[in-house]
C-alpha cells in the first residue's frame, strides 16, 4: 500500500490492522523525519494504556487476569539511541518509565546484526519469551534495516534477501509483530528482482511517500 506521509490516519490504520500478531511487514519510508513521525506515533499508541499496572504484579486478581501491554523494541540505525529517546519524549512518551518497567527497549541495530547476523532474531526471540512469561500481549519489533546497506555491494543485498526470507510472513500462534523498515534511498539501490524477492511470501508492504511539493 502506498500512502502519503501526511496521511497519518491511514498509516496508523495500516500498523494497527494490516500486520497482525505473528506477522512480519515491510515499511519503506521517504526520509528520517517521516520515519520519526511513524515510530513515535506507533509507540505512543501502543504504550498509551501501559499504565502503572505493569509495576504491581500482585495487586489484585482481576488485573492479573488481563494481559499486560506489549513490549516495543526499536532497533535504530540512522539515529542514536539517545535521539530516539528524545524523539519519543517529545511526543509525550515517558521513555524512562517504559524502559524501567520493561515495555520499551531501544537498541543500536548495528550491534544486533554484527558480528552475528542472527543476533537480532535471537534478541527478538528472547523478548518474545519474556513477553509470554510476563503475560504480555506480545512484542512489536520496529527494526531499521540500514545495516544491510552499510558496506555496499551485491553480497549485502543477497544477505539482506536471505535474512528477510528467513522471517516468515506469518507465524501461527506467534506473539511478535515485526516491521522491517527501509529508507527509500536504500530500497532503491536494490534491483527490481531483489525487491520482488524481499516481499516473497506476500509480506505486507507500506510505502510512505513524500508529499509532492
Amino acid at each position: 500500500m502506498r500512502v502519503n506521509s501526511n496521511n497519518n490516519e491511514l498509516i496508523k490504520k495500516w500498523f494497527k490492522e494490516e500486520v497482525a500478531e505473528g506477522e512480519n511487514g515491510i515499511v519503506i519510508y521517504p526520509n528520517l523525519q517521516t520515519f520519526r513521525q511513524i515510530y513515535t506515533q506507533y509507540v505512543k499508541d501502543q504504550l498509551a494504556n501501559a499504565g502503572n499496572d505493569e509495576e504491581d504484579d500482585d495487586n489484585n486478581s482481576t488485573r492479573n487476569e488481563q494481559l499486560k501491554p506489549r513490549i516495543i523494541l526499536i532497533a535504530t540505525f540512522y539515529e542514536t539511541i539517545n535521539s530516539v529517546k528524545h524523539n519519543l519524549n517529545a511526543v509525550g512518551v515517558d521513555v524512562q518509565r517504559h524502559i524501567d518497567n520493561g515495555s520499551l527497549l531501544i537498541v543500536d541495530a548495528f550491534n544486533c546484526y554484527y558480528p552475528d547476523i542472527n543476533g537480532m532474531k535471537k534478541l527478538v526471540a528472547s523478548i518474545s519469551n519474556r513477553a509470554a512469561r510476563q503475560g504480555r500481549v506480545g512484542v512489536s519489533a520496529i527494526v531499521n534495516t540500514g545495516f544491510f546497506f552499510l558496506f555496499g555491494g551485491d553480497g549485502e543485498a543477497i544477505e539482506l534477501i536471505n535474512y528477510e526470507a528467513s522471517l516468515p510472513p506469518k507465524t501461527e500462534g506467534g506473539n511478535i509483530i515485526g516491521f522491517s523498515c527501509y529508507h527509500v534511498r536504500n530500497y532503491n539501490t536494490l534491483k527490481d528482482s531483489q525487491k520482488e524477492e524481499l516481499v516473497q511470501g506476500q509480506k505486507k508492504v507500506l510505502e510512505v511517500t513524500e508529499i509532492a511539493a
Partner: protein
Amino acid sequence: MAKLLVVDDDSDIVQVLKLGLLKNRFLVNAFTNPEEALQSFKSNAESYCLVLSDIRMPALSGIQIARKVKEINPGVKTVLMTSFEIRDNEFSKVFPSTQVDGFVQKPVGIDDLTNKILSIIGETKRRVV
C-alpha cells in the same frame, strides 16, 4: 591549499563543519547528499586532499564513499565520522579493502577536528597564502 570534501546527511552538521573548517583556512566543499558528493569528487578528484564523511547514511554510506574515492584517487585521505560508539570490530569487516585514515567521534570541536585533519594531511598542505 588543502581542499576538503565534507559529507553528512545532517544539514546542520554540514553547515557547522563547513563554516568551522573554512574559518580554520581550509577550502571546503560540503554536501548532504552522498551521491552528489561523490559526483563532485569524480569531476575534481585530484583537487581534494581529504574526504571527511559521516558513516551511516542511506544509499551511500561513508564506508562506501571512502572505498570509491580511494579507487578514483588512491592518494586522497579519508576520515569517517560517527555519532555512534566507535569499536574496532565495527570496521574490521571492511579492512583492509578500504583504507580509512582516521575516525572521528561526533560531536567534535572544530579545533580538535582541524588538528586531526592536519595530523593526517600534514600541516604544510593547509596554509592559505
